[in-house]
Amino acid sequence: MTLVVETTDEAVDGIADGSTVLVGGFGMAGMPVDLIDALIRQGASDLTVVSNNAGNGDTGLAALLAAGRVRKVVCSFPRQSDSWVFDGLYRSGDIELEVVPQGNLAERMRAAGAGIGAFFCPTGVGTPIAEGKETREIDGRTYVLEYPLRGDVALIGAHVADRAGNLVYRKTARNFGPVMATAATTVVAQVGSVVEVGEIDPEHVVTPSIYVDRVVTV
């Protein structure tokens, strides 16, 4: 049952040290910046963060990294023009990195949410990404076996929620949100607004309420 909470502090309450946290967004679009700020205040440490990027500038995910709360980053594209916080931690050996092709990142979380035990994926065959992994030829094509990627918590950004927890997104800010919402035990969404149940057309719901645990307006 989705709980609409009043503050981002309530929204991130109870996230434990050592958690795997899925963080939505692609660049700043869909990035749950307010929830990340609350997570910094909340204090959980030794986190594994799964997100497409590894933080930009000095705010949001970069600030969480700078605060020393993250043990490992799982992402597709850490290196950006403004990823100096991550770059420094990586070069000093203070953070672990698992680079995952962007589609595998999405599909591995989708598998976690969909109860799939593992899947044979054509991406990365013959590349360093596939090193040490099981491969198999199926119908003349080679595939790599990839495993689900689950979160204890997902922090996502959406456009509008209803009080039941149904979510809609806006333009390319949709990106990883709907997938991460299926892949974590506890799903927290920061949204632009909360409307009454029935105000979102059932045909237009992108993330059904079953996936959402807490919603907070920012």
Partner: protein, 224 residues
């Protein structure tokens, strides 16, 4: 994979190498009307500027959109609407949005007709290296390159033929870590267009140079 093209090589000897803009225009002309196309980040995005408005070409961006329009300027800039390079873009009529798993299912499932990518190196058989120099201090970052490389029906590469140190980037075997194996169909450079694949390298067109001159500067056999 594209069908091998037949016909004699065209040597444009009465002109210099292609400018970046001319390269982009040449790639644009190779894209069939109505195709669904992904233009990778960097130089390939310039191809969009040369697609005719009535071509019916639909642009895909990996972060969850079909029907991407030109870069957004001024009031049209919307932080919720960017391309794969995080540059603000616009939306064309007939667009659609979808989440990341659906976007990459579209790519991996072979639904895109063409993608255009940059490269550090391409091998004679179409191996692609475009994500990592392999330098010990480099931070690896692959993004969606591997998914695009193996997913699109036809993979076109845009790159300079020679690195800054003068070594060829069209090579017998890639020395940089691979992005994908045997996935590239054509390589567009400032001096020539090449077809690559199981049959090796064939020159389709040259600009300001001849096949003979290219053969002398490259370490791969050239068919023509």
């Amino acid at each position: 994979m594209s069908e091998p093209t037949s016909g004699p090589v065209v040597e444009h000897l009465d002109r210099g190498p292609l400018s970046r803009d001319e390269m982009a225009a040449l790639v644009a002309r190779a894209i069939p009307a109505g195709a669904f196309v992904n233009l990778g980040i960097g130089q390939p995005t310039q191809v969009a500027d040369h697609l005719a408005a009535d071509s019916g070409v639909v642009l895909h961006t990996e972060n969850g959109m079909l029907g991407m329009g030109p870069a957004a300027v001024g009031d049209a800039i919307d932080p919720d609407l960017t391309n794969a390079g995080k540059v603000p873009v616009t939306e064309l009529p007939g667009a659609s949005y979808f989440h990341h798993a659906d976007s990459f299912a579209m790519m991996r499932g072979g639904h895109l007709d063409v993608c255009v990518l940059g490269a550090f190196q391409v091998s004679a058989t179409g191996d692609l290296a475009n994500w990592h120099t392999g330098a010990p201090d480099a931070i690896p970052a692959v993004g969606g390159a591997m998914d695009l490389a193996i997913g699109a029906k036809q993979v076109l590469v845009m790159m300079t033929l020679f690195a800054k140190d003068g070594t060829p980037k069209l090579v017998p075997t890639c020395t940089y870590p691979l992005t994908g194996v045997g996935c590239v169909d054509r390589v567009y450079t400032e001096v020539a267009v090449f077809e690559v694949g199981p049959g090796g390298v064939r020159v389709l067109e040259t600009f300001g140079t001849s096949v003979a001159e290219l053969a002398a500067r490259l370490d791969v056999p050239l068919r023509s």
